[in-house]
């Protein structure tokens, strides 16, 4: 196709034809997707992207591979849209292994009737987000489902990254005495989505924290190659990640409630609805477990990085009780912080 001009998409809305394998689908793919993603790995439109193994292995010792699917209502919200999530989310799943993200795939399930202008906007912000994160979208797929069989748009992205030799980040490596660090305000994304749905009509400015984290992780590894564990605190929030740490390592984690960075606006939303920001989703926050003696150095490196300005030490790893997370309240009292049983539901009064 490099020898002829790209096809253009003239339709205003997506119809079943755009997923049928006919010319309409070629219009959609060439105009919207190739037009936006535009790179030599994708442009030939083969069924797969192909990588030079030698070039990859020159960059590190291990390959990291991950996948994630993105469903969000509404599709657009303050600070981003489903496309920015789909890129940064998978970039971050790679990043927290210590990997440098390289390539993404993009699978789209579009509901019939979606406005082409909205889809175009989402695809374009995927490109911008990918550029900012230093990854290319090299392969993809499109399906259209009948009206009512989807929720406007679902995106799946898989990602490949390269981990430098010697890096070994794993939840099982937490040790007693390790410190727990988060890279800034927690709960912004969850609160922003809740507010963007409009049911609450709250007059607050809340923005998603969606951002790529790989460069922050590299900066952390620079000062402490022996970081024990990192996870991004997306769905289920910081509470879920620290519970996973405690469970995987059969140790205990104690968080200090007063040390948790939570914006007043987010606290306000939590107060009104009886929710807990520790369970709110984040899209640009990681929780790291680092050896105690190196915690201050890692913290300083994080605070010096744009994605970690608000970093704080929020707790520590203890020997027991195994698998439990405790929160020390401002009063010196203690409570268990468990995983959520179901989704977090607003309380009645």
């Amino acid at each position: 196709m490099t020898n002829r001009p790209r096809r253009t998409l003239k339709a205003d809305t997506i119809t079943m034809a755009h997923g049928s394998g006919c010319k309409a689908m070629r219009d959609l793919i060439e105009d919207l997707f190739v037009g936006a993603f535009d790179n030599p790995d994708l442009n030939p439109l083969e069924d797969q992207a192909r990588f030079d193994l030698a070039a990859l292995s020159a960059q590190g010792g291990q390959l990291a591979f991950t996948t994630d699917s993105y469903v969000v209502d509404p599709l657009f919200f303050p600070g981003g849209n489903i496309g920015t999530l789909a890129v940064n989310g998978t970039v971050n799943d790679l990043a927290v292994s210590g990997a440098i993200p390289k390539y993404l795939s993009c699978g789209m399930i579009i509901e019939e009737g979606m406005a082409v202008s909205e889809l175009r906007q989402i695809v374009q912000s995927m490109r911008q987000t990918a550029d900012a994160a230093g990854v290319t979208i090299v392969t993809g797929d499109t399906k259209v489902v009948p009206k009512g069989k989807g929720d406007k748009l679902f995106i799946n992205t898989s990602g490949i990254g390269v981990i430098k030799a010697g890096v070994n980040i794993s939840a099982q490596r937490c040790r007693p005495g390790d410190k727990v660090i988060v890279n800034g305000f927690i709960g912004d994304h969850g609160a922003a989505i809740l507010n963007a749905r409009g049911d609450l009509a709250l007059d607050v400015e809340l923005k998603t924290d969606c951002q790529p984290l790989h460069s922050l992780v590299q900066a952390m590894l620079e000062v402490c190659p022996d970081i024990h564990a990192i996870r991004d605190a997306s769905r289920g929030g910081v509470a879920t990640v620290v519970n996973e740490f405690a469970e995987s390592s059969a140790l205990s984690i104690r968080l200090l409630e007063e040390a948790l960075p939570v914006r007043d606006e987010v606290r306000g939303v939590c107060e009104i609805l009886g929710l807990d920001a520790l369970y709110f989703a984040n899209e640009g926050k990681l929780v790291a477990v680092v050896p105690g003696e190196q915690a201050e150095a890692v913290l300083a490196a994080m605070q010096a990085h744009p994605a970690g300005r608000g970093s704080a030490i929020i707790g520590e790893v203890l020997a027991g009780p195994a698998g439990r997370v405790l929160v020390q309240t401002g009063f010196g009292g203690e409570r268990i912080l468990d995983m959520l049983v179901g989704e977090q539901l607003p309380r009645i009064c």
Binding site: D199, L200, D264, R267, G268, E271, L273, G274, P321, R324, L326, Q328, T329, G330, F331, G332, G333, E334, R335, I336, D338, V341, G342, L345, P346, R347, I348, C349
Partner: protein, 374 residues
């Protein structure tokens, strides 16, 4: 955050705690066996666990977590009725969020939604009325539940529906009233409660007067309490002073919200729309006389119980469930035979495991490590 952080100030809390520790030493009775203080309201229970207050109190005080969690005490049969309404054609069933998960005998509303029913979470009954106006070809049913705290907003919504002539809005009324239940607890032969923390937001509506029988007839003190940790601690201190001095009065710690006489306008709206039921079934406590309200005849057109066919079956709590004894302070949550075994927040058998405000659920997810590991 203004108007919140002031009531969570650790330094102030420490000062109040020191006073509590000092007063308890002056109460000889407490030295022989712990004083039992019941916090009536689920909001208090939540705060006590959220801030880890229980472990900061002297060992001479035992907190008994009362029945004031409207989601917990909802009987299974009523949830079955909700599901039956939601399953009817052209119905949008609306509910507060935390009622979604309450198990019925067959399924919860959350499961009904997954099975294809149009169940929607709303933040206020007015949201449900707005849905009815926006969907004239649907029947929109609001699941009204809660104590006097939420009753006025439901009453005002029904009144609005009548004024605006909305004929596709219905209320499934499960509102309950706390006073007869406090009385039932006081009348129970195995009751040991020495004093009560009275519900703050209920009292904002009903005022203090309805509690007078607690001191007059049962010789127990009651302090209407706010929900922030300092509120709870100060209220406990006020109770202890009364117990020390051999008094039993009704006091109001939550003066910034609770007027002595309550909220007259809210009470008027409630009285206009609702009347007492002969009895209402409580999960864990059984049937209690005059403990629920129903919609008056003048508003029958909005009454889902009259406009829909309901199974209306009484589903007994499982035999192994000891919620009633926990509610009355006879046993602690973790002393129940099924606590943490058959009965967990994932698979609640009894009322108190259902909502995060329920005592057993709170112990299970927030609880003291020593208690949970017992």
């Amino acid at each position: 955050m203004k108007f919140v952080d002031e009531f969570r100030d650790p330094k102030m809390a420490k000062a109040v705690l020191e006073q509590i520790h000092a007063v308890i030493k002056e109460i000889p009775k407490a030295q022989q066996q712990p004083l039992q203080i019941m916090e009536v309201c689920g909001g208090h229970t939540h705060s006590i666990f959220r801030y880890g207050l229980e472990q900061l109190l002297p060992k001479e005080i035992e907190l008994v977590h009362g029945p004031g969690c409207p989601v917990c005490v909802l009987p299974m049969g009523r949830v079955d009725d909700c599901v039956a309404i939601a399953e009817q054609p052209d119905v949008i069933f609306t509910t507060f969020g935390d009622a979604m998960r309450v198990p019925g005998s067959k399924k919860s509303l959350q499961q009904a939604k997954a099975d294809g029913c149009d169940v929607r979470m709303v933040y206020s009954p007015m949201d449900a009325l707005a849905l009815a106006i926006a969907n004239p070809d649907k029947r929109v049913v609001f699941f009204g539940l809660g104590f006097e705290t939420t009753m006025p907003s439901t009453a005002l919504t029904v009144k609005q529906a009548k004024v605006q002539g909305i004929d596709n809005f219905f209320l499934f009324c499960n509102h309950i009233t706390i006073i007869p239940t406090i009385k039932a607890i006081l009348d129970s032969p195995d009751m040991y409660i020495d004093g009560f923390l009275g519900p703050g937001h209920v009292s904002m509506v009903i005022g203090q007067k309805p509690y007078e029988f607690v001191s007059r007839h049962y010789d127990r003190p009651l302090v209407v309490s706010g929900f922030e940790p300092l509120d709870v601690l100060q209220s406990i201190h006020m109770l202890l002073l009364q117990i020390r001095d051999g008094e039993a009065r009704i006091e109001n710690q939550y003066k910034r919200i609770v007027p002595d006489g309550g909220n007259t306008q809210a009470l008027q709206a409630v009285a206009e729309v609702f009347e007492l039921r002969e009895f209402f079934e409580w999960r864990g406590l059984g049937s209690i006389d005059h403990s629920g309200v129903q919609i008056r005849e003048g508003y029958a057109a909005f009454d889902a119980e009259k406009q829909f066919t309901l199974p209306n079956l009484k589903i007994a709590d499982p035999k192994s469930c000891q919620c009633g004894e926990v509610l009355k302070g006879v046993i602690k949550p973790w002393q129940c035979k099924v606590f943490g075994k058959q009965c967990t927040p994932e698979t609640p058998l009894g009322a108190l495991m259902v909502s995060t405000e329920g005592a057993c659920s709170a112990y299970h997810s927030y609880g003291r490590i020593d208690a949970v590991n017992m």
